[in-house]
Symmetry: C2
C-alpha cells in the first residue's frame, strides 16, 4: 500500500467501493477519468449499480473523456442510473439506451469538453471519480492508462474519489504530462512546439483535503478486441500510403511525414498498421489514442515518438504490454485531452489526420456518427478537432457496407459531422479522391471515379447528371431525391432497389 | 509621388495599368489583396478586362482574402476571365457565374487559405496583385484598408504588382501588424495574448526586385451599402443582449464580456450596433471585419479596441471616416487573416462569435451558404474559424424569409456548414435558444419553442413527433420528409403548402 498511497494524511480515506458509492446522490453531475476503454473507474460504478439492485433510485449525469468500459457505461446504462451522458461512448448498452431515448446524450468535440467544464457550461461538477496508479506524498494523483479530462474534473469538482488500480503497472508513473489552460481572458499559449515536448507535471495536482474517498481495486481495463486486418483494410492502407508517398515526391510533405493522428477502432488500427510495411521512418504520432498498431510501429522502429491521451491495447496483448512497458516509456507521453486534442497544437504541428467515416457524399461532406441520419453509432470524438486543423485531412471508409446493400458514397449525407470545408482526401479500398482545390462538381466526379464501388457508380453519376439539369449548378442537388438512397434502404433493406 | 513611393530603385517600375495587365498570361494563378470590398486592386483588373475587350482570351484563377469589389469580381466574371475562384465572394455577377457552373468556386474557411498557399495546395502563385497606400524606402508594402492574404501572396508569388491607391489615406500607415507563420514542422506559437498585442511589422516585407510593376490609381473602395436597421434586427439585437446580460449575471462572462467577433452584412452590423444601447463598456473586438457599427461603438466609448483584417465602411460615411481616421488609429489594428481568423488565437482569447445563418435545423445544424441546398449565396467566410473555437458561439437569423414562405428553422438543413457540435446559441427575432448541454431532441424542443416563427411551430412539432415514432430516437428523422419543406418551396413557392 505504501507504494500506491504515499500520503499518510489520506490513509484514513481508504474505504470499500460500496462505502464510496454512498457519496453519490440522485441528480449529481459526475466527471470520470477514462478515454477509450482505458483508465476509467471500475469498482465504484459497480458498487453504484449494487445500490440500484437494493432498490435505491439514483440518476446521474456522467461526463468522461471519451468511451469507457462496461463497468461504467454498460452497468449504469442497464440499471438506469445514467440519465445524461457526455461526450462520447462505444458501449452496446449505452448506445441502445441513447437510441431508445432513455439516455440524453450530447455528442461533442472532445477538445470542447474540458473548456465547457471550466466555463461552467455543464453546471457544477459534484464528484470527480478517477482511476490512478498511485497517490503521491502530497496527495497528487498519478493517472493510469489515460488522462482524458481527469485533471480538469479534479480541478473543478467539489469532491474527488480515487480508485487506485493495482492491476495498472506502477511503471506508468512518469509517462504523463499534465497541463491545464486558464480560462479567457487569462489564457496563454500552449507551449508545445514538438510532439515530444513536456510542459506540465507527471501527476494531476490535487490538494489532499479534496479527496473524499480512496478505493483499492484490481479490475483490469476492458479494452476492445482488435479484429484481424482484412483484405479491404489492407487495400485502404495501401491506397493511403501511395498517396502519402506522392505527397512526399511532390515536396509537400517531409520524408518522415508530419505527426500522425489516427482515429480509434479496427479499421483505423489496420490503416495505421499498414505503415509497418512502408518505407517511412522516424515517424511521430500526435493523436488521442495509441492502439496496437502504434506499438507495432514502435517495435519496428518506424515510430520514434508517440503522444496521446490514452493507451488502449487490445486484450490479447495487454498483459505482455504491461510487462514490457519500460521499453516504451521513453517513447510515449500521455497528455490531458485538452492538449492532445488542442486545435492550437494540431495546427501548429501540422498533423496528418486520418479518421473513419460512416458515409461520405459526392461533395465531400462526412457523416461520422448517425447511421441513416438517426441511429447513433459512437460519436464524433476527436475527429473534428484534428480534421479542421490538420495539415492533411483524410477520411477512410469501405466503399460499401452491409454486403453491398449500403453505398458509403451517397448523394447527400444523412447527417453531417465534417463539412465539405474540412475534408481534403477520401480513401476507400477502390482508390483515393484528392479534393483539395476542387469545386463541388469536380469533387463529385473525383469521388465517384476514384472511391465509389462499381455497383454504385452509374447510380451516382445519374444523380449528378440529373442534378446538373437544374438551375443551380454550384452544389447541384435534386432535393426530392437527395436522401432517397437512405429511404430505400430503410424501406427495402438496400440502396440498390 | 515621393510620399507614396519612397524606394528610388523602384521608380522605373511605375507603369500604366494597361502595361501591368500585359504581365498576366492565360492559365495563371493570381493572388490578390482585398477582404470584403476593401483594399482590393482595381485599376489592373479593369485593364485586364480591356484586354478581353480587344479579343484576347485570358483565363485566370483568382484567390483573394475574401470578397472584393466589382472592378475585380464583377468585371472578371462578366468578361469570362475568372475561371476559378477561392475562397469567398459576394458579387452578384460572380455569384451568377458560380451558380451557372461557369466559374469553378471552392468555398473555404478563411483561416485555411493562407496555409494552403504556403503548403502549395493551390499550385504555384504566379502573380501577387496587391493594393497599397505606399511603398517604403526598402520596398516594403504598406497595405490599405485590408490585409487579407496580401502578405502571404507577396511572400510566395513569383512576381508582385502593386497598385498604389492615392484615394486611400496615408494615415493608414501604422495601423497594420503583419505576421506570417512558418510551415510545420517549424511553426511556433502565435504570440498574441490580448487583442491589442502587436507582434509583427507595420508593412508587408518585400524584396524590391520581386516587384514587377507599380500602378498608381485613385479608384475608391466600392464598399457595400449598409441597410438601415429594421425592427426585426432590433429585436434580434435585444434578444442577444438580454442573453449576454444573463451570462454575466450567472458569472459565466466578465462584465465587459470577452472579445467580440461578428460576421459581415447588414444584419450582423445591426446586431452588433445594438450594443450601443446596452450597459456594456470597455468592450474589445477581435474579428475579421470592422463595419460601421464598430465605429459607432468606438465613438460611443463602448469599444475600447478593435482588431480585424479589414475596415469596410459603408459608402455613406467613407469620406468622413478617411478624414477622421487619426482618431480611430490608436484603437484599431489590422492583421493578416491568418492571424485575425486563427483558431489558436480565437480560442485563447475566448471570442464571442456572432454569425448569420441562412437556415438552422431543429437539431442545431446551420446552413450559411447554399439556399435550398444548391444555390450559393456568398460562402462560409470566417464563420467556421470562429464558431468552432469561440467561448460562446451564436448564430442569428430571422425566423422566416420571403415574407414567410420560407421558415429559417427546418427539420433538416439542406446544406450543412456548421454542425450540431459547433452551435451553442440560436437567436431569432422570436427569442433565444441556448442549446448548450442539450441532447438533440431537447435542442429541437428548445429551438421550436424559442426561435421558430409561430406560423411554423405546429408543423415543426408535427415533424418531431412523427420522427419520434420511429425506432431511433437520438436524432429522430423521417428521412423521406426531412427535406420535404425545401422540396415544397422549390415546387410551390412556399414551405407552407
Amino acid at each position: 500500500m505504501q507504494t500506491r498511497l504515499r500520503c499518510d494524511y489520506l490513509k484514513n480515506k481508504v474505504m470499500s467501493a460500496d462505502e464510496a458509492a454512498q457519496l453519490f446522490k440522485d441528480g449529481m453531475i459526475v466527471g470520470t477519468s477514462g478515454f477509450t476503454p482505458a483508465g476509467y473507474p471500475k469498482a465504484v460504478p459497480l458498487a453504484l449499480s449494487r445500490r440500484e439492485d437494493k432498490g435505491e433510485e439514483i440518476g446521474l449525469t456522467i461526463i468522461t473523456g471519451a468511451s469507457v468500459g462496461d463497468e461504467l457505461d454498460g452497468e449504469l446504462s442497464r440499471k438506469g442510473i445514467m440519465k445524461r451522458r457526455y461526450p462520447y461512448q462505444t458501449n452496446k448498452d449505452s448506445r441502445n439506451k441513447i437510441n431508445s431515448g432513455d439516455v440524453q446524450y450530447a455528442d461533442m468535440h472532445l477538445s470542447h469538453v474540458p473548456q465547457w467544464i471550466k466555463y461552467g457550461y455543464f453546471g457544477n461538477i459534484d464528484i470527480a471519480l478517477v482511476e490512478a496508479v498511485a497517490i503521491t506524498e502530497d496527495g497528487n494523483i498519478i493517472p493510469s492508462t489515460s488522462i482524458g479530462n481527469a485533471n480538469v474534473f479534479v480541478e473543478t469538482a467539489d469532491k474527488v474519489i480515487v480508485e487506485i488500480n493495482t492491476s495498472q503497472p506502477l511503471d506508468l508513473e512518469g509517462v504523463h504530462d499534465v497541463y491545464s489552460t486558464k480560462n479567457p481572458p487569462n489564457r496563454e499559449a500552449i507551449p508545445i512546439l514538438n510532439a515530444t515536448d513536456r510542459i506540465g507535471t507527471p501527476y494531476i495536482p490535487c490538494k489532499p483535503d479534496k479527496i473524499a474517498a480512496i478505493v483499492f481495486t484490481d479490475i483490469k481495463d476492458k479494452t476492445r478486441e482488435v479484429t484481424p486486418i482484412d483484405e479491404v483494410s489492407k487495400k485502404m492502407a495501401k491506397n493511403l500510403i501511395t498517396f502519402l508517398n506522392d505527397e512526399v515526391d511532390k515536396g509537400r510533405l517531409p520524408k518522415n511525414l508530419l505527426p500522425l493522428q489516427s482515429g480509434v477502432g479496427s479499421v483505423a488500427n489496420a490503416v495505421l498498421g499498414g505503415l509497418c510495411d512502408s518505407k517511412f521512418e522516424d515517424l511521430v504520432v500526435y493523436s488521442e489514442v495509441l492502439q496496437d498498431s502504434v506499438l507495432d510501429l514502435i517495435d519496428n522502429n518506424k515510430v520514434k515518438f508517440a503522444s496521446a491521451t490514452s493507451l488502449t491495447v487490445s486484450p490479447q496483448r495487454l498483459d505482455d504490454f504491461y510487462k514490457k512497458f519500460s521499453k516504451y516509456k521513453e517513447k510515449v507521453i500521455l497528455r490531458p485531452q485538452e492538449i492532445s486534442n488542442s486545435p492550437e497544437v494540431a495546427r501548429r504541428l501540422g498533423v496528418i489526420a486520418i479518421n473513419t467515416a460512416i458515409e461520405v457524399d459526392i461533395y465531400g461532406n462526412v457523416n461520422s456518427t448517425n447511421i441513416m441520419g438517426s441511429r447513433m453509432m459512437n460519436g464524433i470524438g476527436g475527429s473534428g478537432d484534428f480534421a479542421r486543423n490538420a495539415y492533411l485531412t483524410i477520411f477512410t471508409t469501405e466503399s460499401i457496407a452491409k454486403k453491398g446493400d449500403i453505398s458509403s458514397i451517397v448523394p447527400m449525407v444523412s447527417h453531417c459531422d465534417h463539412t465539405e470545408h474540412d475534408v481534403m482526401v477520401i480513401v476507400t479500398e477502390q482508390g483515393v479522391a484528392d479534393l483539395r482545390g476542387l469545386s463541388p462538381v469536380e469533387r463529385a466526379r473525383c469521388i465517384i471515379d476514384n472511391c465509389a464501388h462499381p455497383d454504385y457508380k452509374d447510380m451516382l453519376n445519374d444523380y449528378l447528371e440529373k442534378a446538373l439539369d437544374g438551375k443551380y449548378k454550384h452544389t447541384p442537388h435534386v432535393i426530392s431525391e437527395a436522401l432517397s438512397w437512405h429511404d430505400r434502404f430503410l424501406k427495402n433493406g438496400s440502396m440498390k432497389i
